[in-house]
């Protein structure tokens, strides 16, 4: 009798893969809005997996930043650009074939590596609670943290410059 959390893992993993597939290659709709919605669902399923890995803070950040901020930005841009007439263009057979070939090759390499890897000696499992994470962030990783704030500032200035009417 498998434990409840094990079943939850399979449920979330299956949902993440299913929604990911529907985001990438939805057989019913080519619309970017559909893709964006399924990407949101994939991200939520991944947040569930994070919770199963006891990374509670990251699960919250995943939902807030990705499903909240980033996807809203995507939807804004999709609606701004009004991409409706491009729905009908078909995917070409050649690109699908080449893409599938590359992907199967890389999937083979990755899965082979995972299977061939030595199983880990099952030691202590880390708890990803907020307190130790914050401590680590503000001691050992203080400099990268500050650099990150600078990066956000640079991105903000860059976006404002890029979205001006005239790019000189």
């Amino acid at each position: 009798m498998p434990a409840f959390t094990d079943l939850l893992f399979y449920a979330f993993a299956g949902l993440a893969l299913l929604f990911g597939f529907l985001c990438v290659a939805n057989p019913f709709s080519r619309s970017p809005v559909t893709s964006a919605m399924f990407l949101v669902l994939t991200i939520i399923a991944l947040a569930g997996l994070f919770i199963l890995l006891h990374a509670f803070f990251l699960a919250a950040v995943q939902i807030l930043v990705y499903a909240g901020a980033v996807m809203v930005l995507f939807l804004f841009v999709i609606m701004l650009l009004d991409l409706k007439e491009e729905d009908r263009r078909k995917m070409r057979g050649f690109t699908i074939g080449a893409g599938a070939l590359a992907v199967v090759a890389i999937a083979g390499i990755l899965i082979r590596a995972v299977i061939a890897a030595q199983p880990l000696a099952q030691g202590i499992l880390v708890e990803g609670e907020t307190k130790p994470l914050g401590k680590l962030l503000f001691t050992q990783y203080l400099l990268p943290f500050e650099v990150m704030s600078l990066l956000l500032l640079v991105a903000m200035v860059g976006v404002i410059l890029l979205s001006k009417k005239e790019i000189k």
């Binding site: 893709s35 980033v70 701004l80 991409l83 995917m91 995972v114 030691g123 994470l133």
Partner: protein
């Protein structure tokens, strides 16, 4: 069977491959961008799994940074796409071939 590190890594690899397929096969710039996000998320899942099963929090800090950088990257990338669309009236990669040899 209790899911161990390998299970999470397989899920992560499959998600990454889905994203890669999207980048290669889809022809809409915004959808390609979303597939890139999917690949980033797959990498995040692998990092969190490693962090959990190696009893080491550094992987989670890395994921935190990746999420931050991804947010900045999305903002800049979408601004670029909007600027491009304003100039060319298209967000379709087959119409954007002026750099092609």
């Amino acid at each position: 069977m209790t899911p161990g590190l390998n299970h999470y890594l397989v899920v992560s690899a499959l998600l990454f491959c889905l994203g890669l397929f999207g980048v290669l096969a889809r022809r809409n710039l915004i959808v390609i961008y979303m597939c890139l996000e999917l690949m980033l998320n797959a990498a995040n899942l692998a990092l969190v799994a490693f962090s959990r099963f190696n009893a080491n929090l550094n992987g989670q800090v890395m994921v935190f940074f990746i999420i931050t950088v991804a947010a900045a990257e999305v903002a800049v990338g979408l601004a670029l796409i909007v600027a491009l669309y304003r100039k060319r009236q298209t967000a379709h990669v087959e119409d954007l071939t002026s750099l092609r040899f």
